[in-house]
């Protein structure tokens, strides 16, 4: 499914009229499950969180390319008015209409040519919002005539795609009781909408939920921690499974051919204090492959057994079909917060490789050919230690891009450490449950900072690298014009030559980047869209190491560019 005849795609998108013809006759209300499966066949749209179900964050659109990117100019800017928490969303585009979310769960439908608002939805959030997850939001899902969003008060809402009216509203769990809510984008798979939950740093037992996309009825729940009597429950000491975290706070991927839904599961709780949850702690830090119709587990692979560093395997699962030792394999590439990118066989969950995306990693010395973590360094209670990378990760959640054209995987790496003091902590249901105190610290060699790199996705061989003074906390998008875009904390939105890594163009949006850029086309014109707006939990930690970032301005503006 990943290997498309390139010539055909190029022919399609090279002729604007064809794009027009494709869009004609379909409207946003007609986003069927089949259209979502075939999304790579309509490159003018960006229909799901990762662009397509394989989470490539790639579009074959090539009107904007290496030779003319210097002619890129802003066409319109849309202000959401909600700057607290950073602008983290991935915009979706369907048939000339863009759908974005701001912090505190505002949703906007915007004319993708003019930037004019079509409708907005303002979620009624409780004023006394006291969770550490949010108020940011990463985006919506489209399908079945509806726009789906998970909320900071742990609701799933469904809006009429034409009018923005709230059509359905369901409470997933009382957020004050569970210490959990939703900041990630849902995903529509066939007749279900699947949505994860935060709460990995709370005394909470994590899960993933599916609802009937048409009626809103609860369809299935996959507990990320097996209950009493279930296989895997014995990987938790005593009752620790009841409060073991295992959040599903980002968005999964889907392979329609295998009918498998892939989701990354976060860290166990307490994050740093593991003595009272001895065992491997399934299915935390796992990639799980589920039957999307029933929620049944088909396979799992645990990247970090008994995680005591708050790493998470919650980031994106990027699905590629590539040769490994000369044999074409169906792969799943998952960058882990601990600083290694894992490569698995997505049919079976077999470990294939793991390669580092950060230089400063001291919690293990490496990963062997069977996926075993070597020389684990587990800080002891009450002893302050330097752990690298920091809690922010060897990479932040913001997503990588994969270009089938260059065959390269583009992602950031962050060099930073932390002092960590592990503390014994008892769970208090729904309350924060981290089991330690941390503070950002410089790397031993003083090379703290960040880089944006191009890799061979299987071997991890680095092809080019761009250095940044501050941690890069934005996602990337790759295009058929052989370009890759990402943004930095100082507000620079940057276009790279996808092959050489040369910076070809920059534009300062006035506030730092925390979201996910996309590309789309309407009426034969290709656009690049990027949310700009500094903020969020990790952005708030930066002044501990880079004091000047405390004064970096927040914002919440969507910039859209096209050739002049």
């Amino acid at each position: 499914m990943s290997r498309k005849p390139k010539a055909a795609i190029r022919a399609l998108i090279g002729i604007p009229m064809v794009v027009l013809a494709l869009s004609a006759g379909s409207s946003a209300a007609d986003i069927s499950s089949q259209r979502l499966i075939d999304a790579s066949g309509e490159p003018e749209n960006w229909l799901t969180y990762g662009g397509t179900y394989n989470a490539w964050r790639y579009s074959p659109l090539d009107q904007i390319n290496q030779s003319n990117v210097t002619d890129l100019v802003p066409k319109w800017v849309f202000q959401t008015g909600m700057s607290n928490g950073g602008f983290s969303c991935t915009p979706l585009v369907a048939d000339g209409v863009m759908y974005i979310t701001s912090p505190s769960n505002r949703v906007f439908a915007i004319d993708a040519i003019t930037g004019k608002e079509i409708w907005h939805y303002y979620y009624e959030a409780r004023k006394e919002f006291g969770l550490l997850y949010g108020p940011w939001n990463r985006g919506v899902a489209l399908g079945h005539g509806l726009v789906y969003m998970g909320t900071i008060a742990n609701h799933l809402v469904a809006l009429d795609i034409e009018t923005g009216e709230e059509v359905r509203h369901v409470t997933i769990e009382n957020w004050e009781e569970c210490g959990c809510n939703i900041t990630g984008a849902p995903i529509v798979v066939k007749d279900k909408v699947v949505v994860g939950v935060t709460g990995g740093d709370s005394a909470h037992r994590g899960y993933l939920n599916a609802f009937d996309a048409k009626t809103g009825k609860h369809a299935w729940r996959f507990w990320t921690i097996p209950g009493e009597g279930e296989e895997g429950n014995d990987t938790w000491l005593g009752d620790s499974w009841k409060f073991g975290g295992g959040a599903t706070w980002l968005t999964g991927s889907y392979d329609a051919e295998l009918n498998l839904l892939y989701w990354g599961v976060g860290n166990p709780a307490a994050d740093f204090y593991g003595e009272e949850r001895l065992g491997t702690n399934l299915y935390t830090d796992c990639i799980v492959a589920l039957d999307p119709d029933t929620g049944e587990l088909q396979w799992h692979y645990q990247e970090i057994p008994h995680d005591v560093w708050d790493w998470d395997a919650a980031y994106e699962c990027v699905l590629m079909d590539l040769p490994v030792d000369g044999v074409e394999r169906k792969l799943l590439v998952n960058p882990n917060k601990g600083g290694y990118t894992f490569v698995l066989d997505r049919t079976t969950g077999e470990f294939i490789n793991a390669w580092p995306q950060a230089d400063n990693i001291n919690w293990i010395s490496g990963i062997d050919e069977n996926g075993k973590l070597l020389d684990r360094f587990e800080p002891q209670v009450g002893v302050e230690e330097i752990v690298c990378p920091s809690i922010g990760g060897g990479r932040i959640w913001n997503h990588a891009a994969y270009s089938p054209k260059t065959g390269l995987f583009y992602q950031t790496g962050i060099e930073w450490c932390q002092t960590l003091t592990v503390e014994k902590e008892e769970p208090d249901p729904g309350a924060e449950f981290m089991g330690g105190l941390f503070e950002l610290a410089p790397t031993p060699s003083g090379d703290q900072g960040s880089h944006f790199d191009a890799y061979d996705p299987v071997t991890g061989e680095k092809r080019w690298s761009y250095k940044s003074k501050y941690p890069l906390l934005a996602s990337a998008v790759a295009t058929g014009g052989n370009l890759v875009f990402t943004g930095d904390p100082e507000g620079n939105f940057i276009a790279f030559d996808a092959e050489s890594g040369e910076v070809l163009w920059t534009f300062n949006t006035g506030s730092g980047h925390r979201g996910s850029p996309i590309t789309y086309a309407v009426a034969g014109v290709q656009y690049i869209a990027v949310p700009a707006g500094w903020g969020s939990a990790v952005a708030g930690l930066l002044p501990q190491l880079w004091p000047e970032t405390e004064d970096f301005p927040g914002g919440s503006a969507l910039f859209v560019f096209a050739l002049k």
Binding site: E128, L132, H169, N174, E177, K217, K424, E426, Q544
Partner: protein, 334 residues
């Protein structure tokens, strides 16, 4: 209040006392007892502990107030009244929660005293601690100080007989005893692994959904009456909010409670499955609505819960009785 996880107390005591002394030395001589209390190293030390346990955690204000998602305190001056009010009431629309239910006023003042001390300890922060006599007057009485200092010995979590141990033992699998356990009752009330959990439809204590009545209204009722309401919901069906069978023009049938109306849509709670789904259905889609002669509440709680569960749930509800928590015994059901 979170009081767990604070090891190496004796070591910290030495360190914090040292810090406190330095802060006191930097201050003008106290003019009255309350002001002395505010710069009292013991109070700053208590505030330090509370800050570490509650404010430094996670992504919030960072270790020693060095900033996280929340603002930095080191090297900065704030009005003490502002700090007190903000800590007590929170900042609406942000992650700063109100602490009035978790910390006593005296404890909040000790946190404020600690935060104030931070403005003087950072060499980069020019201003010394700005202690306004007017702001500090009367905020901590001598009795407050004595009590706080006494209580702070229980804050370290190292005492197995302290409040932490007690709370934990009572949750969630208390041996089968006769008295109702409101803590376990709360867990059952909001237990999401049970689709028919009480909180899926009812609010109490500001938590839970608003499909059915807020159960604060039953908190003062006799235990047996609450039990009957749970087990036999059809015996007392509210006439103002009747369960309806809604049939749409395309043949969909839903059991619903009305929740409101807009110009074009009717809002209903769809109770055909649990948890309930709030749906806004276009008026022209609705064919008929007929009243159903039974409660919207499931009638099978006698099968879903043990007697012990029911005693605990009722004990949880009666813990909100006007005038104070009312205990529940199994015997109250007979």
């Amino acid at each position: 209040m979170r009081v767990s996880g604070f090891p190496a107390v004796s070591l910290l005591l030495v360190v914090r006392l040292g810090l406190g002394d330095a802060v006191s030395a930097a201050q003008p001589p106290p003019t009255s007892a309350p002001v002395a209390a505010f710069t009292d190293p013991r109070i700053i030390q208590i505030g330090d502990k509370l800050f570490a346990q509650n404010c430094s955690r996670g992504y919030c204000h960072g270790k020693g107030g060095r900033a996280g998602r929340g603002p930095r305190f080191r090297g900065r001056s704030f009005s003490n009244r502002y700090l007190f009010k903000t800590t007590r009431e929170g900042v609406p629309g942000t992650a700063m929660a109100p602490w009035e239910d978790k910390l006593s006023d005296a404890e909040i003042w000790s946190v404020v005293a600690y935060i104030s001390s931070l403005s003087a300890v950072d060499p980069a922060g020019e201003p010394l601690m700005r202690l306004s006599t007017a702001a500090a007057e009367g905020v901590l009485s001598t009795a407050d100080i004595t009590r706080l200092v006494e209580e702070s010995s229980g804050l370290d979590g190292t005492n197995a007989d302290g409040p932490v141990g007690e709370t934990r033992e009572s949750y969630p699998d208390q041996p089968q005893t006769t008295p109702g356990d409101p803590v376990r009752g709360r867990a059952l009330f909001f237990d999401v692994s049970n689709d028919a959990n009480c909180g899926a439809c009812h609010q109490v204590d500001g938590s839970g959904a608003r499909v059915g009545p807020d159960l604060i209204s039953v908190a003062g009722r006799p235990a047996i009456a609450i039990l009957r309401d749970i087990l036999f919901p059809d015996a007392s069906v509210a006439t103002d909010r009747q369960l309806l069978l809604l049939t749409t023009r395309d043949g969909e049938q839903l059991e619903v409670l009305r929740a409101g109306e807009t110009a074009t849509r009717v809002k209903v709670y769809d109770l055909s499955g649990l948890p309930p789904v709030l749906r806004s259905i276009k008026k022209e889609r609705i064919l008929t609505t007929e009243p159903l002669d039974r409660s919207a509440m499931p009638g099978d709680f006698s099968e879903r819960y043990t007697i012990k569960d029911l005693v605990d749930i009722v004990a949880f509800l009666r813990s909100f009785a006007p005038g104070g928590a009312l205990p529940v015994e199994l015997g109250d059901f007979f």
